[in-house]
């Protein structure tokens, strides 16, 4: 355990203490939570106190260093005779760390305070290069803004300024200009408090102090992009965005990250129909104000040069551009010919609207249930392994719920990589809320997963021995009577089942020390406890058994609803909700005649039993667990259509490739791993020849049968809300800024 844990009081988050105190700020009386930072209290009455180093999500430890937020403070003092007088503190105090106390009187505009602010800014600027004209931060720079409003008109500094090599590349993504740094310690605190890699730290001291990485090595972090937004000056900058635009020339569109299933809220900054950069967008329920580097730097593909501009038809081995009418005619002809022998694969990276029309086309027009969005190993019945038992698929908890767990058990997941934002929540629960974390990984992922850095117990097991491990844990829980008194289910059978799985036996099977298993079990006993299972589990041949064992653990410890097996792609959840499944229609409506699963379709195609395959944004040849099968399937299928952004390997094997819109070019909704439906907004068009997937399906459907026309994603959402019970009542408006988590019928729908 390297980083040391902070107590609640140290976390500069408002304590949810019920007792309020009255403070007076610039003459305005206001009731605020006891010990709230005065800087926050002032916001409540619309008073801005300038600051640099303060950040509500970072610990106070190294804060209060910039001194920009100094205010005059008086406290009531009792005289011996009982009378109360206001005593002014001799020194001004930093509002960013000053805890609100009853009767406190704050002045933020006194002559002295104004003078102090000017003084601090003069100090900050004497060694600042003032090269704003060539600084990417120019125009959105707290240092510029505070100087404008509170700074001195001129500088009296005529000595030589501090000099460092400019533009030092900390990593592939971040470039560092030491001369501009104002030593606010935001970046260093971020790496310690939030991302937890402690990669940035202060070196040297006094006026020579500088931010550095160890021995000038590269800044390795999955979350490095955030420090660019945290830095209140132009010291930490994005290499990908460097010198590309001025902030005031950028247009901003709200969106949702398409890189993983967590659904970070982002802002797409674009100019001249070209994506310039991605910034985080606040959503307390999901990503707070962070993104991972995949999300922040991974959207370049949107504006990459090799985006497909026209439909491409393969004529004797060569792709030639054709226009959409030709493309549609071809599709219609081939699909008609194919009849029921068609298959549709994909949709995990498309919007709900895309997926809804995708399955509608197949079920209502092509009259086929051969449609599946799942690309993982498990393609069995959808109500397995979780739904039949617990009544939900995927995640039981909301991401934010994880904060309030006493114990979190991460099993077989490279969490930072698979679920970056969930990783940050887990770490937050540990660092700021004192949760215990138990981590179990195979020795293959051992070094990559970062949960081990702070996990209280880490169990590194032989691949494939998950069940033995879980049995061992249950055994200890029973043996040491750590389970709740009156369990919701009858556990006697389970108890017998694991009776002979003593820690020692389980230890031998798994290669984990018996002690570790005992300790882990003891931690799991103090609830609320949540389980997070990752790809190692879902991709396991015995996935259902492991899930069952996890279910037993959850039931036995009385934590029903806290078992989480999140998906991986940005709309894995939504694709299933929309019924892109062989055995369920939209809203998991069971079908009496299930179609083929992805695996079955590929096998059928490989044996020449399918006449046409429609692949939608799925990198089969690249990503599918059986790539050769995928390849053979595409080669042996007479007609393959692929919706793609670029000519991927999969697309190359297609007969017809359709250029479709990226996340930045269409409206719609994604549903993230916690079932939160969130809107994405069209930012720009890069070519009229590129269409959103839903439009393609709609137009094909219109040509093949008489079907309701759709003119916009809104129309489709209206349709979904009307026909898919779990999405009942959803409208673009009530999705609002932070989206809505849908709940299974019966469980009441709560606003996200």
């Amino acid at each position: 355990m390297s980083a040391n844990r902070l107590t609640q009081t140290e976390a500069s988050l408002n304590p949810e203490s019920p007792d309020l105190v009255t403070v007076k700020i610039d003459g305005i009386e206001v009731k605020v939570p006891k010990n709230e930072n005065i800087i926050e209290s002032a916001k409540r009455v619309g008073i801005d106190i300038p600051f640099f180093c303060y950040h509500p999500r970072l610990s106070k430890g190294d804060a209060a260093n910039c001194r920009m937020c100094l205010v005059d403070v008086s406290m009531p003092r009792k005289n011996p005779d009982g009378s109360v007088v206001l005593a002014k503190m001799p020194k001004p105090q930093t509002a960013c760390t000053l805890p609100a106390a009853d009767g406190m009187v704050i002045e933020t505009e006194s002559e002295q305070v104004v003078k102090d602010r000017r003084g601090v800014l003069e100090f900050l600027l004497i060694n600042h290069p003032l090269d704003c004209p060539i600084c990417d931060r120019g125009g959105e720079c707290p240092l510029q803004n505070n100087t404008l409003f509170y700074g001195p008109p001129t500088s009296r500094y005529i000595e030589e300024k501090r000099h460092f090599p400019k533009a030092y590349p900390l990593s592939d993504y971040v470039v560092f200009d030491r001369e501009r740094c104002i030593h606010c310690a935001r970046c260093t605190r971020f790496t310690e408090d939030i991302s937890g890699d402690s990669q940035l730290g202060f070196l040297k001291r006094g006026a020579d102090m500088e931010v550095g990485t160890f021995a000038q090595t590269a800044y390795k972090s999955k979350f490095s992009g955030n420090v660019i937004e945290l830095c209140p000056v132009g010291a930490l900058l994005s290499r990908t965005y460097r010198f590309k635009a001025r902030p005031w020339d950028l247009h901003t569109q709200r969106s949702v990250c398409s890189k993983c299933s967590n659904g970070c809220n982002i802002k797409i900054d674009y100019r001249l129909n070209e994506l310039q950069r991605v910034n985080a967008r606040l959503n307390e329920e999901v990503n707070e104000e962070w993104t991972c580097d995949k999300g922040k730097f991974g959207h370049e593909y949107v504006s990459s040069a090799d985006r497909l501009q026209r439909p491409m038809l393969k004529r004797n081995g060569q792709f030639v551009p054709i226009d959409w009418t030709q493309a549609y005619d071809l599709i219609v002809e081939k699909l008609r010919a194919a009849g029921p022998n068609v298959g549709g694969i994909g949709g995990q990276r498309c919007t709900n609207e895309d997926n809804y029309l995708f399955q509608k086309l197949f079920r209502e027009v092509l009259k086929s249930n051969n449609i599946d969005s799942r690309l993982g190993r498990y393609q069995g019945p959808t109500d397995q392994p979780l739904y039949a038992r617990f009544g939900y698929h995927g995640m039981g908890n909301a991401i934010a719920d994880l904060e309030n767990m006493k114990t979190i058990f991460v099993l077989g997941s490279d969490l930072v990589d698979e679920q970056p934002i969930i990783f940050l929540r887990v770490r937050k629960a540990w660092r700021f809320k004192g949760a215990h974390v138990v981590n179990a990984v195979t020795y293959i992922e051992e070094d990559t997963t970062r949960v081990g850095d702070f996990a209280e117990v880490e169990m590194i097991y032989k691949p494939g021995t998950e069940i033995a491990l879980l049995n061992g844990l249950l055994n200890v829980l029973f043996a040491e009577k750590l389970l709740p008194e009156n369990p919701t289910a009858d556990l006697s059978a389970l108890q017998k089942g694991v009776a002979d799985w003593t820690p020692d036996r389980a230890g031998q099977e798994t290669g984990v020390s018996a002690d570790a298993i005992r300790q882990a079990a003891r931690l799991l006993a103090n609830g609320p406890m949540a389980i997070l299972a990752g790809a190692t589990v879902t991709e396991h041949p015995q996935y259902t058994d492991i899930a069952a064992a996890l279910g037993n653990l959850i039931v036995a410890t009385g934590n029903v609803g806290n078992l989480n097996i999140p998906g991986l792609e940005c709309n894995t959840q939504g694709a299933m909700d929309m019924g892109v499944l062989p055995d369920c229609g939209p809203g998991y409506r069971p079908l009496d005649a299930p179609g083929m699963s992805t695996q079955q379709m590929l096998q059928a195609a490989a044996n020449g039993q399918l006449q046409a395959l429609w692949i939608v944004g799925a990198k089969l040849v690249e990503k599918y667990f059986d790539p050769d099968l995928a390849r053979r399937a595409l080669e042996n299928c007479p007609f393959v259509v692929v919706n793609e952004l670029t000519l991927t390997e999969t697309a190359r094997l297609a007969d017809l490739v359709l250029p479709v819109a990226s996340v930045a070019e269409k409206d719609g909704t994604y549903t993230n791993c916690e079932r939160r439906i969130q809107r994405i907004y069209k930012a720009f068009d890069i070519s009229p020849e590129i269409k959103p997937d839903w439009l393609v399906f709609a137009e094909v459907a219109a040509q093949m049968a008489r079907s309701t026309p759709y003119f916009s994603a809104r129309d489709i959402l209206r349709d979904i809300a009307a026909n898919v019970p779990i999405y009942a009542g959803i409208t673009p408006r009530n999705l609002g800024e932070s989206g809505i988590r849908w709940h299974y019928p019966g469980t009441e729908a709560k606003q996200g």
Partner: protein, 211 residues
């Protein structure tokens, strides 16, 4: 997207360095000392300063990146943390020093009592500027802030000992005695400081200064 984007700053001497070689130079005794000292505190982290002293001794009087890395590994700290500490305190040598490190106090009292004359004398006689090391590697000359023995100005620290009441006239004979002495070296200083942390060492002593 892991490929380094073409950027005006890429390339040149101004690029991040490769991570330093991992070394394990701590002797069994050194590790024992570190563990003993770590046991004095409720948190291992507190052994960071002593740990760096041990490293400075084990790595021959100065702290290389590898040395810092080893301390970090042994105490379960992040590199940035430990390097931050190592660069904060002036007594850790981040560059190699001469066999003897002459640290002349030129702070207030010494300054008014002629410390600078002593410094010039040394600069001139040894042929080095302050901060430099003699060609033969025998001496490194430094000015330091107050050594707090102002009553005996001018004061000079060499290794683990203070030499006092120095003047331009008497300083050179001291230099000569130092020249052929193996005591008062940076390593001896580090060793003494490490030993002082450890109960019972006053009997055996350590470094050159015997209580």
């Amino acid at each position: 997207m892991t490929t380094s984007p073409a950027s005006p700053v890429a390339g040149g001497p101004n690029e991040p360095q490769p991570a330093p070689e991992k070394e394990q130079r701590f002797s069994a005794q050194a590790i024992a000392e570190l563990e003993e000292i770590a046991s004095h505190y409720p948190e291992r982290k507190a052994a960071c300063l002593p740990g760096l002293w041990i490293a400075q001794r084990e790595y021959g009087g100065s702290l290389t990146p590898a040395a810092i890395q080893e301390v970090a590994d042994r105490l379960g700290l992040s590199y940035a943390e430990v390097e931050g500490v190592a660069t904060f305190y002036t007594m850790y040598n981040l560059r190699p020093r001469g066999k003897h490190h002459l640290e002349v106090c030129t702070c207030l009292t010494c300054a008014v009592k002629g410390a600078y004359d002593v410094v010039h004398k040394l600069e001139h006689e040894l042929g080095v500027e302050v901060g430099g090391t003699t060609a033969d590697g025998a001496f490194t000359l430094s000015e330091v802030e107050c050594l707090d023995f102002c009553g005996a100005a001018t004061v000079m620290q060499v290794g683990d000992k203070y030499f006092t009441n120095l003047t331009p006239d008497n300083v050179m004979e001291l230099i000569e005695t130092l020249r052929n002495s193996d005591d008062y070296t940076p390593a001896k200083l580090a060793d003494a400081i490490v030993k002082i942390h450890i109960p019972g060492t006053s009997r055996t002593g350590g470094g050159s200064y015997k209580p």
